[in-house]
């Protein structure tokens, strides 16, 4: 069942088009950076972007930071919002359910497929970012301290070995993927509420936009720690030395709570609803 869903998703041209669009912006940014050599001013622009001019191996993180606020959530919302609602709209849902695919099983398979999409999308952005970064920027060798490799500097001003950078980048990628799982859970839940994939996607985006807006509002600070987008940018905390685990663990638990609640709600709704599409 899960394999079936994966085949469906990854054989779909739209899935790959989404991932391709996702990579367009970081590549464009890289080209512009190389052509103009104008790094963003300190404190402005996405994290890591000012650092990539001197060390291209950080570009995967810069690329993630570029797509994280908008493009990545939209991509995940589109795919997740389509998961059940798309089948309902196409009419294939009734045939899947009378096959019978089992409503809970179908939901789990969709969930796994969407999660895998999240992971693949994040990984592709990171890999493309790495290729772009190492071919277009310097992969800065650190004189003497590290032989035959490249290292970098943490936010805190300590030197990181290439091994450190790789580990922390991988953890950062993992964290971004987990952050997107919350988006996916919203998408899956809304997808069980409506027969319109667009409606489900819009629902997710409405939640994310409200969350981002409330986060900037001082009056909303009492609920700020519970906003789904609150800890998204905490993946940069892996690049502090020592690693600042506080927001990372909070981000992970918050996503776990959202994913848990939304999936239970999606399950409760989907297994008891009348399929009339």
């Amino acid at each position: 069942m899960i394999l079936v869903e994966l085949r469906k998703m990854f054989r779909r041209p739209r899935t790959w088009a989404t991932i391709a669009v996702l990579n367009a912006l970081p590549i464009l940014v890289a080209v512009l950076l190389v052509l103009t050599d104008l790094a963003p001013r300190p404190g402005e622009g996405p994290p890591f972007l000012s650092a990539v001019l001197s060390n291209g191996t950080l570009y995967p993180l810069a690329a993630l930071a570029i797509v994280l606020p908008l493009f990545l959530p939209i991509a995940v919302a589109v795919i997740a919002g389509d998961s059940i609602a798309g089948e309902a709209q196409a009419g294939t849902l009734r045939y899947l359910l009378t096959r019978p695919a089992g409503r809970t099983r179908l939901l789990v398979a969709k969930l796994v497929a969407v999660m895998l999409f999240v992971v693949v999308a994040v990984l592709v952005v990171a890999v493309v970012g790495y290729v772009v970064g190492t071919t277009m920027f310097h992969a800065q060798p650190i004189g003497g301290t590290v032989i035959g490799g490249t290292g970098g500097t943490s936010f805190s001003g300590t030197s990181l070995t290439p091994q450190d950078i790789t580990n922390r980048t991988l953890m950062g990628i993992g964290y971004v993927a987990v952050s997107m799982l919350g988006v996916a859970a919203f998408g899956l839940f809304f997808s069980t509420l409506t027969e319109s994939p667009l409606g489900a996607t819009m629902g997710v985006l409405a939640v994310l936009v409200s969350s981002s807006l409330l986060f900037t509002l001082d009056a909303a600070s009492p609920i700020a720690p519970y906003l789904p987008t609150r800890y998204w940018l905490s993946f940069v905390d892996f690049f502090r030395d020592p690693i600042q685990w506080r927001d990372i663990t909070r981000g992970l638990s918050l996503q776990a709570v959202y994913v848990g609640v939304l999936l239970t709600a999606a399950w409760a709704n989907f297994t008891t609803k009348d399929v009339t599409s």
């Binding site: 500097t153 940069v236 502090r240 609640v261 409760a268």
Partner: protein, 360 residues
């Protein structure tokens, strides 16, 4: 049935923060006097933690001092590793980088990630306000350092950073003070101030609230607090504090009254004689002559403030408990009064000042 599972789950998770917040806090019968003594003795207590300060002070100041103004008006989050007064590190954490201040015996390193710059500053008796000064520990000790027992009362305990913190309230005795009160919550075990709230006489908003969100009393490793500039970083020597002091020294001393609005004059090491410092504890007033080129820009930005009170020769404005008054007498050089006193007290003080001369 299935929806009720969802309902129970949501209610459970939503009430979790409230349940944790409702955990009983144990108070202790410690007198205000002893609590203040414990705070002042806590300088050498090692800890590490995560603190957040939120200032409600919107200072209408010129471009030169924006970093100081941001400090008091923004939300600042800090990580601290404290091995002692001369071995510690405070990082101001932002979404895209951080600025770390590593203090050692001979001075401090400031590392700015986004500029890839390390700045060495030698230890000086007087320094401009910096983020580390906003830590509850530093601020709490500073505000309580000159408090008398008569000004202190005990208030109830509360939970700060998951620890039992005993409340201590400082109500300034001076009439001129613009600070209504300062509440400090002190860790029962270590004497470290965990939260400091400053309330002004105007309005009910907290002017400054700084608190720990996490605190760990284990001694942090020396590797964490040490600093050496990373390869590729720009290294420079910071002289900002000296520049300010040097400017002050070039001002010709003028006779200043021994008391102003009931506040006695005081002297601090390193402060030029031309600058008058008055007051005690949390009620402080500074009088300083100002070069004309600085005063014009300051005047223009002050009068634009909606709360500014403008008369023939002066403008005064309050930002929370901090008052600022710029006087430009017709035939004499301008001067500035600022401090934690009320606007009326500022005006009264200005009226008592003789003509001030400035550096030429």
């Amino acid at each position: 049935m299935r929806w009720s599972v969802v309902g129970v789950l949501v209610v459970l998770l939503a009430s979790l923060p409230a349940l944790i917040g409702a955990l009983p806090v144990s108070d202790a019968a410690v007198s205000a006097h002893d609590l203040r003594a414990a705070v002042l003795a806590s300088r050498t207590v090692a800890f590490s933690g995560y603190a957040e300060s939120a200032g409600g002070l919107a200072l209408p100041v010129t471009d030169q001092l924006t970093s100081v103004a941001d400090l008091f008006s923004d939300r600042t989050t800090m990580r601290v590793w404290w091995r002692g007064p001369t071995d510690n590190r405070v990082d101001v954490v932002t979404a895209t980088g951080e600025t770390g201040t590593h203090t050692g015996t001979g001075g401090s390193w400031t590392w700015e990630y986004e500029r890839a710059t390390a700045t060495r500053v030698a230890a000086t008796p007087l320094a401009l306000p910096a983020p580390p000064d906003l830590l509850p520990t530093a601020l709490g000790r500073r505000l309580l350092s000159e408090a008398t027992d008569a000004e202190l009362t005990r208030i109830g305990a509360r939970r700060v950073a998951g620890r039992d913190a005993l409340g201590l309230r400082l109500t300034p005795a001076e009439k001129a003070s613009s600070v209504r009160r300062v509440d400090v919550w002190v860790d029962r075990a270590s004497g470290l101030p965990l939260q400091v709230q400053v309330l002004g006489t105007e309005g009910s908003r907290t002017a400054l609230d700084t608190r720990f969100l996490d605190l760990d009393l284990a001694t942090p490793s020396a590797r964490t607090t040490a600093f050496s500039p990373p390869p590729g970083a720009a290294v420079r020597v910071g002289k900002e504090a000296e520049v300010v002091l040097e400017a002050g020294r070039r001002i010709e001393p003028v006779p200043l009254p021994a008391t102003l609005v009931g506040l006695p004059r005081r002297h601090l090491d390193g402060v030029p004689a031309a600058i008058g410092l008055y007051g005690r504890g949390v009620t402080l007033l500074t009088v300083a002559p100002l070069p004309e080129r600085l005063s014009d820009g300051l005047y223009d930005s002050l009068v634009q403030s909606p709360a500014a009170i403008v008369d023939d020769t002066s403008v005064r404005v309050a930002a929370g408990p901090v008052g600022l008054m710029l006087v430009e007498p017709p035939d004499e050089d301008p001067y500035i009064l600022t401090g934690t006193v009320t606007l009326d007290a500022l005006a009264a003080a200005a009226a008592r000042l003789p003509g001030l001369g400035s550096a030429r």
